[in-house]
């Protein structure tokens, strides 16, 4: 068929499938052939699943032939970050410690998508257990940015972002604990949604920091993110922190927020020191586009922003040090050989199979929680967490949405920050506060720098205002074509 499949939205594809102008097999093969051709170069996937995908698509073809009811995502080629458990398919979480782990059950949000006839095309690379901002910490290999293969794709959902940018999947799943959906989306020139904490179930996803972790989706079109989120979201009895609030029909609300009179907050702290001038220019141009449509730009201040990194890199390692205790070589994953007793098994297994960044964060968290330091670090950071949350709440008394750059710079060269953990942590400065507060944010592409590397901005909403973010993002994509730019491979 002559239509470029990657340019179409899920609903346009579903319409072609219904009319018989496209078959699910053709839809799938478009993406599988690209994985086969380009993934050796990009290494977006730890485990591609082409055979499984072909098997599933046959079942969908049979349903179609027999006029049986089909799901809302029929044939959707879906890439899934390797920290989501996928029953029967290896889930390593990007770490050697889970090499060979075949989960006996699936994560709730993934299950909800395949129940609507989406098809898994592979498990994507990630920093181990999502600890990182470049995907270079992966226990397997670094993923390359499709716009420049000598550069990082961002992280930790770097495999998922690279897969969408390079048209290796139509939609991908990621998680955002401190920016891990938005930052790689920005660096790969695609869109990504970090919903409100608790909007999506965390069940069946390896835990990093349980009070921060937030599953979400990455795609080219905001309309696709709206539809997929509508299906993923909602209460899950298996996750006590998942919200009971009803899930709006996001995909039907894409024009529900008028731009005329919309108050957009521009936080000065997100445009300050350390933000690349080209990033600043393009993000301001995006805000001015909204202004031309009748929105009102309003300067605001979120004074505790720079402390976000310190709060985040105190609290998150604390939660990590507790969550990672389960990887002990006894019940699942790799185990050290020739150990003398149980405690020796723990020490040797963790010493041999945890990647350096895992050890580093476990050590930071253990230190901050240890006797004598708990009040100075954990309690103090939790108090500043309150201040950061309150600053956002106050801001939303005067503005409808906040607009800011996602990352201070575009994608940096592979290896540049890998031996300097603090420099790597500081790259999260514009994303972590959203997670500290638990707010929703949508990342969107808004241009390129002089090296043709993508630049992204984020729209931050008040709690559970995903519908507003999707509506604004959709309208932005109606006015621009940054989301339809693709890298030459």
């Amino acid at each position: 068929m002559s239509v470029e499949i990657w340019k179409l939205t899920i609903s346009e594809i579903q319409s072609l499938l219904t009319k018989g102008e496209l078959t699910p097999t053709q839809y799938l093969n478009y993406y599988l052939s690209r994985i086969e051709k380009f993934d050796c170069q990009l290494q977006a996937f730890i485990t591609p699943t082409p055979d499984l995908a072909r098997n599933w698509v046959e079942k969908i073809e049979t349903k179609l032939k027999n006029s049986l009811p089909l799901g809302k995502l029929t044939g959707l080629p879906l890439a899934v970050k390797d920290i989501f458990l996928t029953e029967g398919v290896q889930s390593t979480a990007g770490s050697q410690i889970l090499k060979g782990f075949i989960p006996p059950y699936s994560s709730t949000v993934y299950q909800r998508l395949i129940d609507e006839d989406a098809i898994l095309v592979g498990k994507t690379n990630t920093d181990p257990f999502a600890f990182g901002a470049s995907t270079e910490n992966s226990g397997y290999f670094p993923t390359k940015n499709p716009w420049d293969v000598t550069r990082i794709p961002g992280g930790s959902s770097g495999g998922s972002a690279a897969a969408i940018a390079a048209q290796l999947a139509h939609v991908a799943l990621g998680t955002d604990t401190g920016g891990s959906i938005r930052q790689p989306a920005s660096m790969c020139g695609i869109s990504g949604i970090k919903p409100t904490y608790g909007r999506n179930s965390r069940y069946g996803i390896t835990a990093m920091a349980s009070s921060f972790d937030c599953p979400g989706a990455l795609a080219r079109h905001v309309t696709d993110l709206a539809l997929v989120t509508e299906i993923m979201a909602g209460n899950d009895p298996l996750d006590a922190t998942s919200s009971n609030l009803p899930v709006p029909a996001y995909s039907q609300m894409l024009n529900s927020t008028p731009l005329q009179g919309l108050k957009i907050g521009i936080p000065k702290e997100y445009f300050g020191e350390g933000i690349d001038s080209e990033v600043k220019t393009q993000v301001m141009a995006a805000s001015e586009l909204f202004q031309k449509q009748g929105a009102i730009l309003s300067d605001i201040s979120l004074p505790s922003t720079s402390l976000g990194i310190d709060v985040y890199y105190t609290l998150v390692p604390c939660e990590i040090s507790a969550n990672m205790a389960r990887y002990d070589g006894v019940r699942f994953g790799q185990t050290a050989q020739n150990t003398t007793n149980l405690i020796d098994t723990y020490f040797q297994t963790r010493g041999q199979f945890l990647e350096p960044e895992l050890k580093r964060r476990i050590l930071i968290g253990t230190y901050a929680l240890s006797s004598g330091y708990y009040d100075a670090y954990y309690i103090k950071a939790s108090q500043i967490r309150t201040l950061i949350k309150q600053e956002f709440e106050n801001a939303f008394n005067s503005v409808d949405v906040i607009l800011a750059p996602v990352a201070p710079t575009t994608a940096w060269p592979l290896g540049q920050k890998v031996n300097d953990p603090l420099a790597m942590y500081l790259a999260d400065v514009n994303t972590v506060c959203v997670n500290v507060a638990g707010l929703p944010a949508l990342a969107l592409p808004c241009g390129f720098d002089s090296q043709s590397l993508p630049i992204g901005f984020q729209l931050i909403g008040n709690y559970f205002e995903e519908a507003k973010l999707f509506s604004l993002g959709h309208q932005f994509q109606q006015l621009t074509d940054y989301h339809l730019q693709v890298p030459k491979l």
Binding site: F101, I102, S243, F347, T386
Partner: protein
Amino acid sequence: MSQITTATIAHIAKLARINLTPEETETYAGQLATVMEHVARINNVDTTAVTPTFQVTNNRSSFQTAPVSSQTLSSQKVLKNAPRHHDNYIVTQPSITK
């Protein structure tokens, strides 16, 4: 705040049950000192009378309304990923030795 030395790293690695090589201990001592020095800025903030935030959901006492026992895994499935198992048990190295 006290200095982070190789002895500090050795102590917390023991608490965290991780074997570290001498080279790793050295590297982490330097890196943790740098990171902790940066995050110690939080102690310059006046947080008198500020309540700490441990979760952002505003949920209070979330209880199960229906049993979820039907969704538990069979022991066969659970044991499948255990490095060593026998009958219905996971086998470990001895925890108490003479």
